[in-house]
C-alpha cells in the first residue's frame, strides 16, 4: 500500500509520515520545492515529490501507484485571501490531478473550526451543527479556508465516487506547539485565562498522526467523518500549568470566569464594535466561542468506528512535548529498514 501525503513536512505531516512507516505503509511525501528535507531524517524509502499546490503545473504524476491520498496541506499564515488561495485553490488543483489518476481513496485533514460552536449545546461531537454560509465568512481566514476545503473535497469525492474519510482534529499540540488558542489571551509572558476549568478539545500530534495512518489503512474508515480528540481534554488551568512548567516561561495568570468574559465580549460587540467590520478575534463572539466555549468533547465515534485508543497518555504526551528530544536512533526505531534519506540524518 502506498500513501501520498501532502503537507508532509508540516507539524502534523512529519508525524503522519512516521506513523504510516510504522504501519508498513509506503510513503510518497509531497513537500514544497524549497523545503529542506534533510533535518526530517526520513529514510530513503520515503519517496519525496516536490510541488507547490498553488502553482505547480504537473501534479498528476504524484499519484502514480498511489492507493490513498492523505491531504494535510493547508496555508495557515498570511492573510485571509492567501489562506483561501493556498488551502482551497491548492485542494482544487490537487484533486483535479487525482481525478485523472487511478487513486480512489482519500483521507482529508479538516478541523474542529468547521463546527458552529455558538449553536452547539453541551457536547461537540460529529453531530454538532456546522458553520453555514454566509455566517462562516465572519469566522476568519483559517475557518473559511478549512470549511471550503472540506466542501470542495466532498464535492470531488461525490462526483468521482471516491472513498472519503474526513478527520477533524481538535487543537493539535506537541513539541514547539504547546501554546493553544484555547488558553485565552497571552500578553507578553502573562496570561488572561478565560474559563480556567473549561476542557480543551485536544490531541497530541503523535496520537493524531496515528489516527491518520489507521484511517488510511483500515477500510472501516471509508465514508466516515470522525473528530480526533485524545479524550475529554485537560482543563485550561491544568494544561497551562503544564505548559508553563514545561517551557519555563513563567508569568502571571489571571483567571476570568468564562461567563463574565463572554458577557463582556458580547456587550462590547453590540455597543463599541457594533458598526466595526474588523475586530480582533477574541472580541468577536463567534470566534470567542470557537476558542473558549466550555463544551464537552469525546472520541466515541472514533473509538467505535476504528477501535482506536490513543497510543500515548497525557503524561507521555507531556514528556514528548517538553522532555528531551528523542535521539535519532530512537526516532527511527519503528521504521522499516533502509538508509536515511538525508546525509545529515546519517551523521
Amino acid at each position: 500500500m502506498k500513501a501520498l501525503v501532502t503537507g508532509a513536512n508540516g507539524f502534523l505531516g512529519r508525524h503522519v509520515v512516521n506513523a504510516l512507516l510504522a504501519r508498513g505503509i509506503a510513503v510518497r511525501a509531497m513537500v514544497r520545492p524549497a523545503t529542506r528535507v534533510e533535518p526530517l531524517g526520513w529514510p530513503a524509502s520515503v519517496d519525496i515529490v516536490r510541488a507547490d499546490l498553488r502553482t505547480s503545473r504537473e501534479l498528476a504524476s504524484a499519484f502514480d501507484d498511489v492507493d490513498v491520498l492523505i491531504h494535510l496541506a493547508a496555508v495557515v499564515s498570511g492573510g485571509e485571501d492567501a489562506q483561501f488561495a493556498g488551502t482551497v485553490g491548492g485542494t482544487e488543483r490537487l484533486l483535479e490531478a487525482m481525478a485523472s489518476s487511478g487513486c480512489r481513496r482519500l483521507v482529508l485533514c479538516s478541523s474542529f473550526s468547521v463546527y458552529d460552536y455558538t449553536a452547539t449545546r453541551d457536547v461537540l461531537d460529529e453531530t454538532a451543527p456546522l458553520q453555514q454560509t454566509p455566517d462562516v465568512y465572519s469566522r476568519g481566514g483559517y475557518t473559511v479556508a478549512k470549511w471550503w476545503q472540506e466542501r470542495v473535497t466532498r464535492r470531488f469525492a461525490e462526483t468521482h465516487g471516491w472513498d472519503l474519510t474526513v478527520l477533524r482534529p481538535g487543537f493539535i499540540w506537541g513539541r514547539d506547539h504547546g501554546y493553544l488558542a484555547a488558553l485565552g489571551q497571552q500578553i507578553g509572558r502573562h496570561h488572561v485565562v478565560i474559563g480556567p476549568l473549561t476542557r480543551i478539545p485536544m490531541t497530541h500530534v503523535e496520537n493524531c498522526a496515528d489516527v491518520f495512518a489507521l484511517a488510511a489503512a483500515d477500510p472501516r474508515a471509508k465514508g466516515h467523518t470522525l473528530n480526533i480528540v485524545d479524550g475529554p481534554g485537560e482543563r485550561v488551568w491544568t494544561y497551562l500549568s503544564d505548559y508553563i512548567s514545561g517551557t519555563g516561561k513563567r508569568g502571571f495568570r489571571l483567571p476570568i470566569p468564562h461567563w463574565l468574559a463572554s458577557a463582556a465580549v458580547r456587550l462590547a460587540f453590540v455597543t463599541v464594535f457594533r458598526r466595526a467590520t474588523k475586530v480582533p478575534a477574541i472580541l468577536t463572539p463567534k470566534k470567542f466561542d470557537a476558542m473558549l466555549k466550555p463544551l464537552r468533547f469525546d472520541n466515541r465515534r472514533l473509538r467505535e468506528t476504528l477501535g482506536w485508543t490513543p497510543p500515548l497518555d497525557y503524561q507521555q504526551c507531556l514528556a514528548r512535548t517538553y522532555g528531551p528530544s528523542p535521539a535519532p536512533a530512537e526516532a527511527l526505531a519503528s521504521w522499516s529498514s533502509g538508509t536515511a534519506a538525508s546525509t545529515s540524518a546519517q551523521r
Binding site: 514544497r32 520545492p33 524549497a34 523545503t35 507547490d52 498553488r54 502553482t55 499564515s77 498570511g78 492573510g79 485571501d81 492567501a82 483561501f84 488561495a85 482551497v88 485553490g89 485542494t91 482544487e92 454560509t133 454566509p134 465568512y137 473559511v144 471550503w148 466542501r151 470542495v152 464594535f273 458598526r275 466595526a276 467590520t277 474588523k278 475586530v279
Partner: protein, 352 residues
C-alpha cells in the same frame, strides 16, 4: 449599472466591498479560474452568478463595467475581451505588462466608445486629495517638488519572495517593485504633471529571489520635479508623501492617516517653528487615534480605492469626465516606462 469582476483574489475584496455600497450599481457576476474562489466571493458578497470562464460571463451577463483584478500579465487580454463585449474597464495597476499593450488597449477603448481606467488608489486617499484641494485654492502655492518613498518589507517568505510559488509580479521588468511603480508615478503625475525625463537607480541590497529591492528615481516633470523611491529594507513600513509648494509644505504617510502642513503664520518669524511644531504635534496625535480607529472599520489604507471607484461610477453614470482619464493613464505609464530598468541602467549590488 451592472458590474462584474474578473479575478477574485486579494484586491478583489476591496473592489467588491466598495461596489456593494455604491448606489445604482449592481454586482452582477464574478469570475475566477478557481470555482471555489469564485463561488465563495459570490456567497460572501451576495453576487447572483459566478463563472470560471470570463468570455462566458461577458456573454451571459453583458456587464456595463468590468473590473480586472487578476495578476498583471493577464490584464491586457481580459481587458480587450471586456471592451469587445461592450463594457467599460477598471483595471488594477499595472494595467498592462508593456506600454505597447496599453496603447493598443486605450486605442481599442476609443474605437468601441468605452473607457479604460487604471486604479491609482493612493491619489484618492484623503491626504493627497486635501493637498490637491489646497493647491487648487491657491493656499498651497505652486508645487515645486514632490517626494514619494514607499518603505515596505517585501522580502518575507510569504509574499513576493516566496521561494515556493514565484509571485506573478516577478515577471514584470523590475520584478516586485514594478508592481509599485504606478503608485509612485500616479502621485508624481497628480502633483507635477507628465514627466519630461527620469533618472533611475535600481539596486539589490539583500539576497532574495527579487531582481531588485531598492529603487530611486529623479523625475523632471512639466510643473516641477519629483523624487520617487521604494525600499524593501527601510523600516518601519511607511508610504511617505512630501509635497513642497511655494507657500506651504505637506507631509503624509499614506499607510496611516497622518497629514501635516507647514506654512506661513501671522506670528513673528522666530516664533514660527515653535507654533508650527505645536500644530504638527497636535495633528500627529489626532492622526494616531484615527489610524487606530480605522483598523476596526472600513477600507483602511484602501480608502482611496473606494473614493476612486465611487467617483468613477458617478462619472460613468452621468457622462461627466472621469477622475482618471485615458490621457492620465497614458501619461502615468509613460513615466512608469521611463522608470523601468533597461540594459543601459547600471545595476548596483550593495554589498551589505
Amino acid at each position: 449599472m451592472k458590474a462584474a469582476l474578473i479575478g477574485a483574489g486579494q484586491i478583489a475584496r476591496q473592489h467588491l466591498a466598495c461596489v456593494n455600497t455604491l448606489p445604482g450599481v449592481q454586482l452582477a457576476a464574478i469570475c475566477d479560474l478557481s470555482p471555489a474562489t469564485a463561488e465563495a466571493a459570490a456567497e460572501r458578497y451576495a453576487i447572483p452568478s459566478w463563472f470560471t470562464d470570463h468570455r462566458t460571463m461577458l456573454e451571459t451577463v453583458r456587464p456595463d463595467v468590468v473590473h480586472v483584478t487578476t495578476p498583471p500579465t493577464s490584464h491586457f487580454r481580459l481587458a480587450i475581451d471586456a471592451l469587445q463585449a461592450g463594457a467599460h474597464v477598471i483595471v488594477e495597476k499595472p494595467a498592462t505588462s508593456t506600454f505597447e499593450e496599453l496603447q493598443t488597449l486605450t486605442l481599442r477603448a476609443r474605437q468601441v466608445g468605452r473607457h479604460v481606467v487604471e486604479d491609482y488608489n493612493y491619489v484618492f486617499n484623503r491626504a493627497p486629495q486635501e493637498i490637491l484641494r489646497r493647491i487648487e485654492t491657491g493656499e498651497f502655492g505652486a508645487v515645486t517638488h514632490v517626494d514619494v518613498l514607499i518603505c515596505l518589507d517585501i522580502l518575507g517568505p510569504d509574499g513576493f519572495a516566496d521561494p515556493n510559488a514565484p509571485h506573478p509580479a516577478l515577471n514584470l521588468a523590475g520584478g516586485a517593485i514594478a508592481d509599485f511603480l504606478p503608485h509612485l508615478a500616479s502621485l508624481a503625475h497628480a502633483f507635477v504633471g507628465p514627466h519630461r525625463s527620469a533618472q533611475t537607480v535600481w539596486s539589490k541590497r539583500k539576497p532574495s529571489l527579487l531582481p531588485f529591492d531598492e529603487f530611486r528615481c529623479v523625475v523632471e516633470a512639466e510643473r516641477g520635479t519629483a523624487t520617487l523611491g521604494f525600499s524593501a529594507s527601510a523600516q518601519p513600513d511607511a508610504f511617505w508623501l512630501r509635497v513642497y509648494g511655494e507657500r506651504m509644505q505637506a507631509t503624509a504617510n499614506l499607510f496611516e492617516t497622518r497629514l501635516t502642513f507647514d506654512g506661513p503664520r501671522s506670528v513673528p518669524k522666530p516664533l514660527r517653528p515653535f507654533f508650527s511644531g505645536l500644530e504638527e504635534g497636535s495633528d500627529i496625535r489626532r492622526a494616531a487615534l484615527s489610524t487606530l480607529l480605522r483598523k476596526f472599520k472600513g477600507p483602511g489604507a484602501y480608502e482611496g480605492l473606494w473614493e476612486f471607484l465611487a467617483l468613477t461610477y458617478q462619472a460613468l453614470g452621468s457622462g461627466a469626465p472621469l477622475p482618471i482619464t485615458a490621457e492620465d493613464v497614458l501619461a502615468v505609464n509613460r513615466m512608469v516606462e521611463a522608470m523601468k530598468p533597461t540594459e543601459r541602467v547600471a545595476i548596483k549590488e550593495l554589498a551589505i
